[in-house]
Amino acid sequence: MNDPNVIEPGGVEASADGPGDPGRRSDTVSPRSAVAEQITEFGRIPVGNVRCEDPFIIAENVNAYYGDIHAIRNVTLEIAKSEVIALIGPSGCGKTTFIRCLNRMNDSVEHARVTGRITLDGQDIYERGLDPVVLRARIGMVFQKPNPFPKSVYDNVAYGPRIHGLAADRAELDDIVHGSLERAGLLKEVKDRLDEPGTELSGGQQQRLCIARTIAVNPEVILMDEPCSALDPIATARIEDLIDELAEDYAIVIVTHSMQQAARVSRRVAYFHLGMLVEVDETDRIFTNPQHKLTEDYITGRIG
């Protein structure tokens, strides 16, 4: 129904030179309206299909600024429940900024500003009165560099459940910790080392520990910011297998610089360029038959 070819060019509102009034909340745009296509210096974008079946996260006309820098320009994208969507694009194109908008991590950056509308399961996450702390418990995040806390393996995983009061007693907490480590495929390796510092695990184990820590608070979405860029190929393969398994229960948004990784783990791929969403489509289509010149240039190695 949302074939890009059907969209009326007349629906274009935003001009090439920016987001228009940054303070404007695009309440007039209903979440499922036609995509506001823009004509930019790169032609008409986005191409492909930013809509999806049964969307869970809907970003509409999102703009993000760091001071005077316009980091995200008018991005509209839907993300479904239990799908893996990979964000690719050259460095500095706004992929990371975009996922940091989704769990409001940009709040803690001074001078950062986000406009537009992002809903999670129908709820506007930038609504006044919404507690970002609660939001972040629903949207977990795994970072580029493994960042275990300087605590024991056990306490690393137990940190989230503890601050959210998810376990009534020690036995329940044990269950959560063991379950999360199990799901992250780490339990076998660290079963006897739960009291050792998480910082002493290998890089790949640390990253899986961070994933275990994230799923311990039972999120609905997991954002992954280049989770394998600091890991060797074997550890990377393990994480990718893990992403496959997790995809059954969570919506996963993964930022990656590796096109092979995007091809292996994701169902859909979104290509970003200079803060703009250029093309979104099924992974197979993006890699076999990209519609936009920029996407083609990037995946064939001419950009980046």
């Binding site: 609660v134 995040m141 970072f143 961070c210």
Partner: protein, 462 residues
Amino acid sequence: MQDTTLLLSLTVLALAGFYAGRGRALALVGGPARGRRLHSLPGYYGMFLAMWCLLPPLTLLLAWSLFEGRVITLMLIEGLPDAQRSMSAGELNLLVNNIQNLAVGDAVSVEIDAVLREASSRYRLLQAESRRLLTVLCLGLATLGAVSAWRRIRPEFRARNRVESTVEFFLLLASSIAVLTTIGIVMSVLFEALRFFQQVSIVDFLFGLNWSPQTAIREDQVGSSGSFGIVPLLTGTLLITVIAMLVAVPVGLMSAIYLAEYSSQKVRAAAKPMLEILAGIPTVVYGFFAALTVAPWVRDAGEAIGLDVASESALAAGLVMGIMIIPLVSSLSDDAIKAVPGDMREGALALGATRSEAMTGVILPAALPGIVGGTLLALSRAIGETMIVVMAAGLAANLTANPFEAVTTVTVQIVTLLVGDQEFDSAKTLAAFALGLVLFVVTMTLNVVGLNFVRRYREQYE
């Protein structure tokens, strides 16, 4: 030649040497256009020559000025008539002084006789001779050095390496001055303290409960045999330090947390320099603030609730000392908190922690070693602090844990022992060195432990 003239001519020689060396190196390869055939840049050959021109005479000059006076005096005494030479060392010293004074035209304390006159003219002669010799030797050495360096310049000669190793030597010299000074101070304190322990037993010193360092100057003086028990001083120091830390650690730590995590850039930009100004206030200012403002206030406040507070109380001194070290604790803790990687904080926030949960649950535990290290450094600063306690804590060596009483500290006693005219071999004066040694050992231990903590913690995240 005067020293300044000599130095000036040496400088001119060295400058000329620089251009000569540079020119020679270039001439050897056939002009600047072919300078790349040289091993080093042409300037290095110039510097090499200038070094040889300058360093040997300067070394000689230094040695000469160190030993000149002594050698001339010896030669002077050699030449005196036997009657004078057989005088005692003190008398001889006086005579030499008189000869020297006469030579430069100063007042002389005895009648001027023939011997004196003759000796003083000989002294003048010796001095002039020494100057002349020095000038000749210096200029000779400079020329010799320049010529030999000149002859060594070849296109393949590694002038750059020579110059750099010389520079390295001077860097080493500069750093060894600091180290040697430290060793010298430690040694002098140690040996003077050992002299003290010959007069007072070390056990009495370390474990004695009574401090009253008045020794008799005359045999028939009464009631001043002196007792040197350091325990009341240590407890006084400890009491004031504990009070100071009770003020400084919570306030400093909390301000550091606020500045590092919660404050906006603007507040931080204003508050940080303010804290550093607090660190820049001279301790003597804190001292009279303690003595004239805080101490009376503490006394009045105590009286208002029916407590008997001394005018000079440990509490007043401790409070002000605590304020003094707040910036130290705060800035070191701030550094420690800032050094915790930002992604650790983000990791906690991404799990749905509030900022204060991230702070108490993740950042502070990670920064703890740095904070402990900073606190230990502040502690050693508090123990060594003098001015505030001199003014506000009092001189009475009370063995008490009551913060409302006057106590005294190790540093205060060192000051009082050495203020005024002293004989430098009495137990009273030497006790200052023993106290200094104790203080030094304590603060050094704290510093070493504190710095170790800080270092180990830095390594953790690199």
